[in-house]
Symmetry: C2
Subunit: 445 residues, 2 copies
């Protein structure tokens, strides 16, 4: 039996594997995580609304009934298209047909030093790191007596107003204005400043201007400061530079650029500027008709000249199409060209706010949010998760609470200058430093 190897169990890889479940092939799915991550809801994990396990399902559990399929946990380092094998750090595996669905990670446009200060959001680990930073920032602000430093802890900058950036900014607003509002004694979390920076001329640059404008209005209603036509020139531990302007912020999140997985480079095939593989219309790699590339790793122009977008529905359709072409090849039939069926796109902005573009039908506000919720729950893998997420969401909606507000991982010292010799005992209940006792937050609704 032919051996079909699938690299990556995101939307593309998982749907490709499922489409091969009744085919006379052996399938091996390789992923560097043991779980499929439902990326559209990662921003909820990053902002403490859902727990990681709500949106992560073990890959082998999803595919457990598919007897022709093995799942292995391994990180692919390279592909050897000549010897037809996939190379891991700790082994290798031969294939007859290969479907590469390794996805993308963040791109800092050549400023890799920014990565340490502005984490992006692609994996569960990324989401937990962002959650840690956001929650620690409020804790640090509560203890920090110096007003300028406190204000830097209370400032959150999101770079990039694509769907991820918009979702993060909206959820941060919800977190600070509702969830945390009454829980601190020395700060007022609802005064947190949330800034969304976008290089292009509108919010959600991939959407029509009309919906970009709606999104901007909804963000403004959530007290998110939106700045378009704004190019970030520097990011460090203390904040963000925009030319000669400066925003002091201890928490910066990156939602701007994506870069194709480095695996693409090992194929020896032509790549586009973002490092994605320029695939043939049938999704194979030119010169290697036994290798398919799908999802965020593939670059393909449609007949009308527009590129297939890097969104979940395109990955799902690509995965199914690659599997279909594998099957057709087995039967001696010619491979078919891929056509992306664009059913629309949507982005959520916060509590009951979203924009949705279904071609002729364009929605914003509550109706768009309902549509968004419905589609996302529907596509979430696994019954238990679907139910728990819906329940968690309903409860959050009513109580304004968020389910997963725990900080895990290292907590660094929150205050600076703590070895200052002026340190002395104080009994005023604040964290003691050489500063004067701080005022309690003034407004408390």
């Amino acid at each position: 039996m032919e051996h079909v190897v699938i690299i990556g169990a995101g939307f593309g890889g998982l749907y490709a594997a499922r489409a091969l479940r009744r085919e006379p092939v052996r399938v091996t799915v390789i992923d560097r995580h043991n779980h499929h991550t439902f990326q559209p809801l990662l921003y909820q994990v990053a902002t403490a609304g859902l727990s990681a396990s709500d949106i992560a399902t073990p890959i082998r559990h999803v595919l457990r009934k598919q007897k022709n399929t093995s799942v292995i946990l391994a990180e692919v380092k390279a592909i050897d298209p000549v010897q037809k094998r996939v190379i891991f750090e700790d082994g290798e595996l031969g294939y007859d047909k290969l479907i590469v669905a390794a996805g993308a990670s963040h791109s800092y446009f050549g400023n890799d030093a920014w990565a340490a200060f502005a984490p992006g959001l692609k994996t569960v680990e990324d989401a937990l790191e962002i959650r840690r930073r956001v929650l620690v920032a409020f804790e640090a602000a509560e203890r920090e007596p110096d007003p300028a430093r406190r204000s830097a802890w209370m400032t959150f900058v999101v770079v990039g107003a694509g769907p991820t950036g918009v979702e993060l900014a909206g959820a941060l607003s919800e977190l600070s204005r509702h969830t945390l509002r009454r829980e601190f004694r020395h700060i007022d979390p609802s005064k947190a400043r949330i800034v969304l920076l976008e290089g292009a001329g509108q919010v959600l640059p991939s959407y029509v201007p009309e919906l970009g404008e709606k999104a901007k209005q909804q963000l403004a209603a959530l007290n998110v400061e939106v700045r378009t036509n704004c190019r970030v020139t520097g990011i460090d531990e203390e904040g963000v530079s925009i030319g000669d302007k400066r925003i002091e912020a201890r928490t910066v999140l990156w939602g701007a650029g994506v870069a194709a997985s480095a695996i693409a480079r090992t194929l020896g095939a032509p790549l586009d500027r973002a490092g994605r593989v320029l695939v043939a219309p049938d999704l194979t790699v030119p010169g290697h008709e036994d290798i398919y590339v799908i999802g965020d790793l593939a670059s393909l122009k449609q007949e009308d000249g527009t590129p297939v977008p890097g969104v979940a529905p395109a990955a799902i359709q690509g995965g199914r199409h690659a599997a279909r072409n594998v099957s057709r090849t087995l039967r001696g039939l010619p491979r078919l060209p891929f056509r992306y069926n664009d059913r629309g796109s949507m982005a959520t902005i916060g509590r009951a706010a979203a924009v949705a573009d279904f071609g002729k039908l364009k929605l914003s506000g509550f109706l768009a949010w309902l549509a968004w919720l419905f589609v996302h729950i529907l596509f979430l893998i696994g019954f238990r998760n679907r139910f728990l997420v819906l329940f968690s969401w309903a409860l959050s909606y009513v109580t304004y609470q968020r389910a997963s507000r725990l900080i895990t991982g290292e907590i660094p010292p929150l205050l600076e200058d703590h070895h200052a010799p002026e340190l002395e005992a104080r009994k005023d209940g604040g964290a003691v430093r050489r500063h004067q006792p701080m005022e309690p937050a003034r407004t408390r609704a």
Copy 2:
């Protein structure tokens, strides 16, 4: 107003803070985590049954309505009883009254090198680390072609058959025999070997022999190998030594010893062998009547000569009692001695199995398990958690599935010798090494 500082927001600290909510004092609760951890269910997080957020509630959320109370995130390094201040790495804080509820961590009985190979279970981080190791072990076994190595990956040793060890061993059995059973292609997870080692002569040494025997029977029914009177003499990356015997196991978990928090040593007060503070009957530290020590950090003999046990109910009662003595002191009343009211103890063993000792009434099996479940859900902090955990549990009970099977954190290379020069391309679907193709697992029910 007097300033009462509470170190630690476990059961002791949290119940002390709550008991002070209507008193004319300012309260500050300090913890190195932002969440209260419901320790009795940590073993469920470690074995993928519950997610971390199910059993961790933000401390400031629990205390949000208590207007006389601040919560700060900080790690206490030392106490200065002369100047009456608590010292953090990044600051300090003065107090008038101090309640120390900093708890305990693992003790390896002088073999600190074992810590790296046999993690204990006290914090959410510990639980996530154990979960990572356990889930990675099955993934590695699935890829490992060498039978001896595979068998070491499939062997799990739990050291110490106290309640934590028994719970871990039982849950590991459930995980391997039910949850994972049909999801692998090259191994049969239900053949995993789970060994529970205990130095004393019975399982659950703190229980009456009758219940220890029942627990042993229930463990045997779950295929857990129990060895009592068995002293571990060595632990390394490859397994456990017991005198001149050896168990090859890649996963070893530590449930044996506890050591008091190092904060105790900075008080300059007399300590017991485990490093706990020998407190006066009113829970104060001899010589420092403004400092109370409660919970796992306190060592106190009751009137009948038996020590107050290191269990959650004792911490809760101690917290309330310390708060009461603080209030009485404020009113000019004498402090009262603490009396531990033992309402019984229970330990769960696995799916629908437990033992419970309510003095005259001794239960084991399903009834004991129901009692265990009822009490634990009742004491779990927060409505949302209580509901979600109960729901999660009910679903697991019916489906045998476990909710949180994601691996987070670093995944090391799973196979050794992977740079062996004999490496070559293979197409048999297994992870490729120089070994012959392995047989599929023989039994598959």
